[in-house]
Amino acid sequence: MAVITYREALNQALREEMRRDPDIFLMGEEVGAYQGAYKVSRDLLEEFGEWRVRDMPIAELGFTGLGVGAAMVGLRPIVEYMTWSFALLAIDGIVNAAAKMRYMSGGQFKMPVTFRGPSGAANQLAATHSQALDSWYAHIPGLKVVAPATARDAKGLLKSAIRDDDPVVFLEGELLYGTKDDVPEQDDFLLPLGVSEIKRPGTDVTIVVHSRPLHAALSAAEVLESEHGISAEVIDPRTLRPMDIDTILESVRKTNRCVIVEEGWPVCGIGAQIVDDIQREAFDHLDAPIARVTGADAPHAYAHDLEQMAFPQTEYIVKAVRHTCYLE
């Protein structure tokens, strides 16, 4: 174990997997000579050379398809998007090509490609650069969707994503790259896709949250404990598709109350689906409506305060939990 950043954890995962399997290669804008726009691929070009660490022109649609084609003939591409907002230009390659190739070919072609990069907002990047379209990808059969919130999860899950034979949408957090955590160093440290983790045990209410807002949720749990005597259990599904809802259901059957938090927009978001799953399978266990705290239902503003206000802040989560516990 060593305390390293989320960025270093991803870098380790990439290096370890690329050393293990010569069919794995990384491509994207600035991943090579520039060492990565966010330095996630630092030193990889030097170690693996340009065919395995390839700088791409700004052509998201083109190099996404390049990954799909390479995967069809047996390579295991890792496609980095400088940010997921730019992947909008490559959506056809992800959704129509990668996600459906196995099905359309009657199982002839596996699609071991990992699409990764920072998702969600950073600091004041405004409307075109801040989107967290997690629910879009979760909507698509054929894709797996992973969104780690800690350095440990980032490493263990990225290694599993790279080894997975299905296309994986791997959503990192621009504001998470610098966050630190205890991360196992051994090469065989893997975390399975599709398994939720209880990040903080509790008894009175279940908070389901993924990606960056996990940290706001954990501090909300602290506040709830210390200031309101409410014991919140915080669960991070980590994989949004396929999602391990059993861990969530078990918790809700115990707490009978639930608040779902996400950075993305509310309408048809990840939380909406979790609400659906919970009410379908734990209807009689619910003592209150499930509340959701989401990103504000508006494009992202540049102005600092408006942007901050648009995120799911600790105070909103506290409010939502107290409301759900009928304390407001």
Binding site: F25, W51, R54, M56, P57, A59, L61, G62, F63, T64, G65, L66, G67, V68, G69, A70, A71, M72, V73, G74, L75, P77, D92, G93, N96, A97, R102, Y103, M104, S105, G106, G107, Q108, F109, K110, P141, G142, K144, D164, D165, D166, P242, M243, D277, R280
Partner: protein, 347 residues
């Protein structure tokens, strides 16, 4: 500027077997599609079904000279490319029928034929969508230091879409052994080429990419196609240079089985004249005759063999069972797929 290649007849010094084989493929392609149309009419085939009638010289001239380890990829007008590349005529027809013995177990249909065993990489239905896939295959070829090539067929309208620029630029930039063959059949659905592309010869768009050669050729002359593709293959295999070939051809039928052959966008007369004066099969037969390389007997023999193959494929397809309901949720992921059933107790 695009060079117009000529003197295709020099290719007639190919051994007679090869020359006959090419004719056989062209006739098979024609008859297979005629039967496909018939099966569509009687309702055995559904969805969008795009026939290749009139364009046979392109696929046959381009694919027959390839090696087994080369790759072929095309759009949705893919039946004949698939057959010439070596896909089984029975499993292709079964796929068109949507049966479980189809190449994609009935899940892909006419627009999505695939066969990994003969490096036939599809069958892609989004215009321009397969060009990036083609360069990915080319990238993998270089990655493995192989000297295979990837031949990518595309329609004329693809020259106007974004993926065209991104893919050709990367093919030239990374020096990928990819041969792009535009099948310019004069129309994208109901749009004449020059109502969509601001350029005289589409192959001239190669000028935008250093190292990319552009050639515009007579796509109705199977020998000219073959000769040109062989030159392009040499560029790709030996020099890792991509090529953009524009093969001028013509679609004798409607865009798809659900579209009219002529009407608002082209006249009955125009179609008639092309069939009369520019049928690639007739033209090839004439050339072969002129040089005493084929006899009526040979042709009858071919027609006979082809008929057997076509009937056999229909027979096979109609006997193949329709996919079981369980197939709905298979091939979505590599492993088990529990979620689906859980949220879906009604099916």
């Amino acid at each position: 500027m695009a060079t117009r290649m000529t003197g295709s007849e020099e290719l007639l010094n190919l051994d007679r077997g090869t020359l006959t084989e090419m004719l056989r493929w062209m006739i098979l392609g024609r008859r297979y599609e005629e039967k496909t149309a018939e099966m569509y009419q009687v309702g055995e085939i559904g969805g969008f079904c795009h026939l290749y009638i009139g364009q046979e010289a392109v696929a046959v001239g381009a694919i027959t000279p390839l090696r087994d380890d080369d790759y072929v990829i095309t759009a949705y007008r893919d039946h004949i490319h698939a057959l010439v590349r070596g896909m089984d005529h029975k499993t292709v027809m079964a796929e068109l029928f949507g049966r479980v013995d189809g190449s994609s177990r009935g899940k892909g249909g006419s627009m999505h034929l695939f066969d990994r065993n003969v490096n036939f990489m599809g069958g892609h239905a989004i215009v321009g969508g397969h060009l990036p896939v083609a360069i990915g295959i080319g990238y993998a070829i270089r990655y493995r230091d192989s000297d295979a090539v990837c031949v990518c067929f595309l329609g004329d309208s693809v020259a106007n879409i974004g993926a065209f620029n991104e893919s050709l630029n990367m093919a030239a930039l990374f020096q990928l052994p990819v041969i792009f063959i535009i099948e310019n059949n004069r129309y994208g659905m109901g749009t004449a080429v020059h109502r969509a592309a601001a350029i005289e010869n589409l192959a001239d768009r190669a000028c935008a990419y250093d190292g990319m050669q552009g050639w515009t050729i007579d796509g109705m002359d199977v020998l000219e196609v073959r000769r040109t593709v062989e030159a392009a293959v040499e560029r790709a295999r030996t020099h890792k240079l991509p090529t953009l070939i524009e093969a001028n051809t013509y679609r004798f039928v409607g865009h798809s089985m659900s579209d009219p052959n002529y009407g608002h966008y082209r006249t009955k007369q125009e179609v008639h004249e092309f069939k009369l004066k520019d049928d690639p099969i007739k033209r090839y037969i004439e050339t072969l005759r002129k040089h005493d390389l084929i006899s009526d007997a040979n042709i009858e023999k071919i027609e006979g063999e082809v008929k057997v193959i076509v009937d056999e494929s229909v027979d096979f397809a109609s006997k193949s069972p329709i996919p079981q309901p369980a197939e709905l949720y298979t091939d979505v992921y590599s492993g088990e797929y529990p979620d689906a059933k859980r949220r879906d107790p009604w099916r």
